[in-house]
Symmetry: C2
């Protein structure tokens, strides 16, 4: 039994508490449940009470002397951030490819030099589990230092059964070895494996018949994701994969409409996907369908920045009633970053979300996008004590003073990890 922790006198405590259950849309994304001079009482890693410092002072009068006290005066305190879309487990590094591109190398130059996603696939296939664990742990530490206490992680750099399972097993081990929470997604359909080029349906059959059953049998994933895009998987192939996953108890996610409008958002709504990802080019009909089905839009503005694409229409999606979450998309090709604080800034700058909406998108709605809203994403009694104390006074400054990681301290299940 550890000492209770009392975080008190927060200049602003953004609880994100709400009567609304499930993903928040429209005006609900602006309701941060703010408490001035806020306090949180933590016991055994769980939140026991939330309120003003005065309220908790009275309530815990006889326990105050045994508690560890954290003075949060002049600081904003929020739930730990949640990153609902990462490809965090991968082998190798591609900084030289980044440089080559800026030195003027063409796409083919880079492919010929062994670059691109297939480079990561090769390096991930070659890496041992231990090597992947080592590399990934450093990224998980970096997530912690950026205030992120729960992440989703996808397989998808294997594109063969053995390596897909290796990536998922690495996540399972990291869930045991590292304090961060990792929620695993199977993404065997992340690209077309070179050896299946021209016979994509064979790979879809292989994935459904050979891969999904093993992933489900070993309980290695909760979600099933597919890259639905022209030249990758068609909406029909994507639907088959996602419906097959559902039969194995895997909830659908979908990389949709990143490069051109391709019916991905519509398909997400149709199959009842928990979230659709990217959506840079989602159609008006697709956005409407998502608003109606309650599918969460998981938007990735750091990826858009890195690829010099126009960011997704976040403002419009919120206005049309879609619940928006945001994520780093952490991956070695199109978004090698772990900074959710920057992603929140970009949600405001590039997608025109308000500071309050950006925080909701990075906490409660992000938790909903990976089905963790009962445990994390807001500061409410009975939830995990996943919290961040920031070097700013209020939630507006967190976005206004951009490009800076304002994290001061981070608690995961009541344990101070930063």
């Amino acid at each position: 039994m550890t000492k209770p922790i009392w975080i008190k006198h927060a200049a602003q405590l953004a609880t994100l508490a709400s009567e609304v259950k499930g993903p928040r849309s429209k005006g609900k994304m602006s309701e941060l449940g703010l408490i001035e001079d806020g306090s949180v009482w933590i016991e055994d890693g769980m939140i026991q009470a939330v309120g003003t410092t005065k309220e908790l002072e009275e309530r815990f009068a006889d326990k105050v002397y045994e508690a560890e006290i954290v003075d949060a005066s002049n600081h904003l305190v929020t739930p730990g951030l949640v990153d609902p879309h990462t490809h965090v487990v991968y082998g190798g590094s591609r900084e030289r490819e980044f440089e080559m591109r800026l030195e003027g190398a063409s796409y083919m130059d880079i492919m010929n030099a062994g670059g691109g996603i297939h480079a990561t696939t090769r390096m991930t296939r070659e890496a041992t589990e231990e090597e992947l664990i080592d590399q990934t742990k450093r990224r998980l530490d970096s997530f912690f230092s950026h205030g992120v206490t729960t992440i989703e992680g996808k397989s998808g750099y294997g594109m063969n059964l053995e390596t897909e399972l290796k990536q998922l097993r690495v996540m399972k081990k990291l869930q045991e070895q590292h304090a961060i929470d990792i929620v695993p997604t199977f993404m065997g359909a992340h690209a077309i494996p070179p050896d299946f080029k021209g016979r994509e349906d064979d790979f879809v059959n292989h994935l459904i018949d050979e891969m999904l059953p093993v992933v489900a049998e070993e309980k290695l994933a909760e979600f099933n994701d597919v890259f639905c895009e022209k030249g990758v998987y068609t909406p029909e192939q994507s639907e088959r994969i996602l419906e097959a996953g559902k039969r194995f108890g895997l909830m659908p996610k979908i990389h949709a409409d990143e490069i051109e409008p391709y019916g991905g958002a519509e398909l997400a709504a149709k199959v009842g996907a928990i979230s659709a990802e990217h959506l840079l080019k989602a159609s008006a009909e697709g956005i409407k369908a998502m608003a109606e089905s309650g599918t969460i839009a998981c938007l990735l503005p750091a990826t858009a920045l890195y690829l010099r694409e126009e960011a997704a229409a976040g403002r419009r999606m919120v206005d049309e009633g879609v619940s928006v979450a945001i994520s780093t998309d952490c991956n070695p090709g199109s978004s090698p970053t772990t900074s959710m604080p920057l992603v929140m800034n970009l949600a405001c700058i590039s997608m025109r979300l308000t500071p309050a909406e950006a925080l909701t998108a990075a906490t409660y709605n992000a938790a909903c996008a990976i089905n963790r809203q009962e445990r994390v994403g807001s500061l409410e009694v009975g939830k995990q004590a996943d919290m961040v104390m920031w070097n700013v006074k209020n939630y507006q400054e967190l976005q206004y003073l951009f490009g800076v990681n304002h994290v001061k301290s981070v608690w995961k299940k009541g344990v101070k990890v930063v």
Copy 2:
């Protein structure tokens, strides 16, 4: 007499040393003077030797035992970053204005609510010297934590003699009270003061006759800057101001061609400005003129991001022979950030500089833009021991793993400040 410091075994030491003196252009911006297994020997805050660890081991064999040793294995080590363009001294904060804009407020709504640059002018006029020192110190600490060891700072939120002098005196005091180096610039012509609206020439006369002499007399600035832009100061007015400054020994700088092509780059070349700033809309002729005159282009890609403008044509300027420096533009309106690491990332992502060019632009060329290249900006014998050890292995990773502040340790004149 303090102990010598020996930083050794740097995986990669980017010295930025070169035979070339003065701002670097074209291919010279890619020459980082890299040393593998690099070492730096520091005594009394100055660099005594730079080389491989083996070389320094032999040279200092009899002094090794008295030195403080820093193991930089697996780390990139570079000169301290230099930020050659900031408006770091200001009163108040405008995060609520940022939020209002995202909530849909118009420019006029914000002006009516007392926002915009005139809000900062009002708050800077109202602040005491002590309040400004306190506020600014926090920003200087943040610069340190982002690896920045020398900055330029501008006046310009006074627009009357009293407050302009207050800003400059605050910088002078901070130079004494804080370890960072601050290089002061007078920028009385930052906007048209509301009480001179419609009689701008009167203000120009006032600035030349009443303000410049006092600034020069009190030795409060080294540079003289002007916002040359349609609706602000014309090229003719700007030229008068800059030429007058030269007579007082102040080197010209110029905010040029930010909003539309207005002959600012051309004027910078004509008056022999040490640098021209922003340049988002600089003309082809202006770029050519700058290349010929050796005027440094000081580019501000974080400002472009924040304002959702296309970044300056950094790639083209380098290719055409202009020496490029980069900066945060730290200010409360269009770039409230202190993150030079993000600015370097954006120089690559948005302006297509290579990782090597971005590092040169943030160190040696930035030092040249504020006439400090004899003291800082590269790791060479006899220069200040201003250095950064990074949590990456090489200069490519510093830009590739974007959005993350990779600073591990920072030394200012041989003193560890982070």
